[in-house]
Amino acid sequence: MTFNLFRYASPASFFPKARRMAAWFAPAAVALAVAGLAIGLVVAPADATQGDAYRIIFIHVPAAWMSMFIYLVMAFWSALALGYNTRLSAMMAQALAPTGALMTFVALVTGAFWGRPTWGTYWAWDARMTSELILLFLYLGVIALRNAIDDPRRADRACALLTLVGAVNVPIIYFSVKWWNTLHQGATISMTAAPKMASIMLAGLVLMSLAAWAYSIAAALARVRTIMLERERGAAWISQLPEMRRPVIA
């Protein structure tokens, strides 16, 4: 997601490249996930204090990391879209939002399921979970704004601006939620205190994080191809695609 895209700044030239990249990242994601889950669910030992319940961090932590990382990448593409007015940057930002929202949602749900057996409550208003919840609202806001504006170019720029405003606010929001949490200390316990990490658990986490990263790239690339087809419908390069030349079996 961070390679130099200027050479491929037109949708026409990026379209086939995206398919090739997605075809590489998707199986990589599956392989990494299988390895990571094998370690996390089977190989790694049960935790001394939390028992088997801690194993959910192998999904929760990578999802939470990706949810924040994707927002940063979205902000990067948004900045490019506003600065250089390129369609592809805006399409990449548009493609990333649903995956980011999904990661945030998974992080929240797995966090809740982790809390239940460990601390006895599904939701304990700790700083990280509350910030994650607000991040979900930021993602949903960008998606909602995209859907509400009919003109695609206006939607591109409006969502890009909103993403950047959100990105600037995220540190402020995180800081304020932490402050709020410490002010009311005692009422809540940190749900996400990870257990002491044996190196095998760390390996599992790293594998799952890489899997989440590869999945996000593959999903975003697949989605951006669909977005390109939708928005460039009628453009010359689409009718010249190899897929279009194959005979249709009636």
Partner: protein, 208 residues
């Protein structure tokens, strides 16, 4: 003064026009004609700097300008479909407000005189809410006179004007061109000026 090169515009998926090119010198007007939906308003908005064209460039005094370019904003007086009047303010207050907004300093008496010239002095103290469409348009004309910007970009300025109002507009336009100004006017009606000073652009011919 104003030059357009190879302009193209889209609305959503559809391409409205392309290859639009023209050049307007001081003292000349460009009449833009075309059927409804052909892109006249879009072209004017591009020239005024409200939108970016899908392709091509606009040049002011030879220098390319991007949307909302400060030089463009200094030089033009734009009148779109909407009359830009607040219902709650009187005609005089509206005129004063719009004049100040354009960075032009003008005395109160000059404002009154401008309203007088468009036959609105009787109604200048009434809230704009009670004025008719034609009367609102006249406030727009008064504004054009007071602002004295070099380049006018007008989208169907004769809408809702009666015969008198039309005559007023024609004479104002002639005065403006005589003084070295230029104008781009989107219109359904022919402009009443010597052909030497008016060039025409039919947007339909540039449709793709």
């Amino acid at each position: 003064m104003l030059e357009a090169q190879d302009l193209a515009a889209e609305r959503g998926q559809a391409r409205l026009f392309r290859g639009v090119a023209f050049r307007i010198e001081p003292g000349c007007a460009l009449a833009v004609t075309g059927s409804n939906g052909s892109g006249k308003t879009t072209l004017l908005r591009i020239l005024a700097g409200l939108s970016a064209p899908a392709a091509g460039s606009v040049r002011l005094a030879g220098i390319p300008v991007k949307p909302f370019d400060p030089r463009l904003r200094e030089a033009i007086a734009f009148a779109g479909h909407l009359p830009a009047l607040k219902d709650e303010l009187t005609a005089l207050e509206n005129l004063e407000s719009l004049t100040a907004l354009a960075g032009t300093r003008v005395t109160h008496s000059a404002l009154r005189e401008a309203l007088d010239r468009v036959a609105l002095s009787q109604r200048q103290a009434l809230p704009a809410r009670v004025l008719s469409q034609g009367q609102r348009r006249r406030i727009g004309l008064a504004r054009l006179r007071v602002l004295r910007k070099p380049l006018w970009i007008l989208d169907e300025p004769a809408t809702a004007l009666d015969r008198e109002g039309n005559a007023l507009f024609d004479s104002m336009l002639a005065e403006h061109l005589d003084g070295g100004g230029a104008a781009v006017v989107a219109t359904h009606q022919p402009i009443d000026l010597p052909p030497a000073r008016v060039s025409a652009l039919a947007i339909d011919a540039c449709a793709s």
